[in-house]
């Protein structure tokens, strides 16, 4: 290091050391913008393919269609024996029920683990954490046989009922972490005043926990909306199909013939997820950052 640069470095206030010179930060921005475009390109291309005239889809890699043609959406929507409206409705019903089940059942369980004292609590909590590690493949086949025997195959029950039994240990864990951060004085005071555990849960914990409940609800909605494996196993009648099964059927039945319709319907299935992302970005990203949710 030469004399001058050393003195300049020393003269800088410490917080400035991490700041880049203008050219360096321009280079980083340029790289990040290029990377962003690369990341988004496939998605943008799909959206643009969905509004192109059919003959133009594969002729260019450009993102801007020469003219907007929405006929792909019409063809795609009605391209199967059952319309995509039906699939959307089924997905919506399942997703809303799953969100409800997860929020209610997981918050009840988490409240017990985080705030109530009872014999065996630590034992059950350890078991609950253990279930986080078990891959679903282990329980898959007996569960399928069980639901088949109950006559639940081809209904939404196998996809929804387990959620009301707090089967998503991950959300329990998330809520336990959050509940533990709420000051104990609150429920101790309420208990002194003779509040029951139920009232404390309902009147104090839930209202204070809206951020974590919302995070759980949003992830739960998106994952259920995107779920392919569950519906693939339990739903065999096209009238009960979710959007993901509908899309897959559309791929198989029209294969190479109707790319426009395929991309149009693909785009539509992504729209709800995209809007959730847009509105709840902060919650989603904080959820990932603090808990390490995967996917």
């Amino acid at each position: 290091m030469t004399e001058t640069t050393a003195s300049v470095t020393a003269a800088r206030p410490p917080s400035d050391i991490t700041k880049r010179s203008l050219p360096a930060s321009l280079v980083i921005h340029a790289l990040l913008i290029a990377a962003s475009l690369l990341m988004l390109y496939p998605l943008l291309w799909m959206v643009s393919a969905s509004v192109r005239p059919e003959n133009e889809i594969f002729s260019s890699t450009s993102l801007i269609p020469s003219s907007i043609d929405l006929s792909s959406y019409v063809r795609g929507w009605t391209g199967l024996d059952v319309s995509f409206g039906r699939f959307f409705w089924n997905s919506l019903v399942i997703s809303v029920l799953v969100v409800t089940g997860n929020v209610i059942a997981c918050s009840l369980t988490a409240y017990a683990f985080a705030r109530l004292r009872f014999a065996g609590r630590n034992f059950w909590f350890a078991i609950m954490l253990g279930t986080l590690m078990i891959p679903y493949h282990v329980t898959l086949i007996p569960q399928y046989v069980l639901f088949l025997d109950l006559g639940w195959v081809n209904t939404i029950l196998p996809l929804v009922v387990p959620k009301f039994l707090a089967s998503d240990a991950f959300f329990i864990f998330l809520m336990v972490q959050f509940f533990r951060g709420i000051p104990r004085e609150l429920d101790e005071a309420a208990m002194m005043d003779g509040c029951s555990a139920w009232r404390i849960y309902w009147k104090i914990m839930l209202p204070l926990s809206l951020p974590v409940l919302a995070t759980a609800a949003i992830f739960s909605f998106i994952w259920t909306w995107d779920d392919f494996f569950g519906p693939l196993i339990y739903l065999n009648d096209m009238n009960t199909y979710t959007i993901q099964l509908g899309l897959r059927t559309f791929v198989d039945s029209t294969s190479a013939s109707d790319w426009g319709g395929l991309f149009a319907m693909s785009t539509l299935t992504l729209v709800p997820v995209f809007f959730f992302f847009l509105f709840f970005q902060r919650l989603l990203i904080e959820g990932i950052a603090t808990t390490g949710m995967k996917r």
């Binding site: 980083i28 990377a35 279930t131 590690m133 891959p135 086949i141 494996f229």
Partner: protein
């Protein structure tokens, strides 16, 4: 009770007294524990009915032949022996899955770390970049993205159209057994957003004054990365690596959609879970599929245990 009738009024019989004590103890136990267990009730029902019970049954089924039409027939170790010695599809699936894990996880984590470091400089527009890089992670598991990927890497797909601009004639990536698995690796790497966000959170925990001190001592950027960032980030790297590897072992949807459920061409995208699905719900070999499931559990458990055991040599926690 006859005993009670003989005692004078106002006196309490021994039985009654003991009964009252027992009842009191019971009431106290009940009062202390009932709320907890009532809140836990849905979870307990789910745990026994949907997790523990099925897991035990699945273990039992793995020693049987079971096609769902007739009751399970005990075959001892036969399923496991066949998996280990006489099932070429099992070894193909293992091969494909390990290839996927070995290629997708390191690339994904490297990209995630590089981008996180680029973003962790107090740049303008951080939230926009972060959102853009995270978006594919959120959409990636859906059928629509798998469909899109199938088109991207088709012989007349976008990737080849882009290559042809440089005069390169690309192969049909998804229908060539040598390349098909790497299109799925690419799809997984494209979704580096969620580990990236975890890295970003981890980078923020590193005290800035460490870099300031190091740079006053004249340490180069590379040396700072190697001596400060990397060691302090090892807990997060470890976490991301374990989570992503387990996820990679369990991957299913993209392989299913891209290969049309076959795991082809020539089993080159036959992910372990896809093979399990085919055996269970295509061939109704429920016993055999249960054995496959348990082997997957054991593999994941061994991998996780191994990671935790080796972690003491390279993961640094501040104490």
């Amino acid at each position: 009770m006859s005993n009670a009738m003989r005692t004078p009024a106002g006196a309490i019989s021994v039985e009654r007294y003991q009964g009252a004590v027992a009842e009191g103890r019971f009431r106290r136990l009940w009062n202390a524990n009932a709320p907890g267990y009532l809140f836990l009730l849905p979870w307990l029902v789910g745990f026994f009915g949907l997790t523990l019970g099925p897991a035990l049954i699945s273990l039992y089924l793995s020693f049987t032949d079971y096609d769902m039409l007739q009751s399970p027939r005990w075959v001892g170790m036969a399923n496991y022996v066949r998996i280990a010695t006489a099932d070429p599809k099992f070894s193909a699936a293992m091969d494909v899955t390990l290839t996927y894990v070995v290629f997708s996880v390191p690339f994904k984590l490297t990209f995630a770390l590089l981008v996180a470091m680029a973003l962790n400089r107090g740049l303008r527009g951080l939230t926009v970049y972060r959102a853009i890089f995270y978006l594919p992670s959120l959409l990636g598991g859906s059928v629509a993205i798998a469909v899109l990927w199938r088109q991207l890497f088709a012989s007349d797909g976008l990737v080849n159209a882009a290559l042809s601009q440089f005069g390169i004639e690309g192969p049909s990536w998804i229908s060539h057994p040598n390349y098909s698995i790497y299109t799925l690796v690419a799809l997984s790497v494209w979704q580096f957003g969620s580990p990236m966000i975890i890295f970003l959170a981890g980078l923020r925990q590193i005290p800035q004054d460490m870099y300031e001190a190091a740079s006053l001592d004249g340490a180069s950027k590379f040396r700072q990365f190697y001596k400060i960032t990397l060691p302090l980030l090892t807990p997060v790297i470890f976490f991301n690596a374990v989570v992503q590897t387990i996820e990679a072992f369990k991957a299913f949807t993209p392989a299913f959609i891209i290969s049309g459920g076959t795991g082809g061409p020539i089993n080159s995208t036959l992910f372990y879970t896809l093979y399990l699905y085919q055996e269970a719900f295509g061939n109704f070999r429920m016993g055999y599929a249960s054995a496959l499931a348990w082997i997957l559990v054991v593999i994941i458990a061994i991998f996780t245990a191994f990671s935790f055991l080796t972690s003491r040599y390279w993961v640094h926690y501040d104490d």
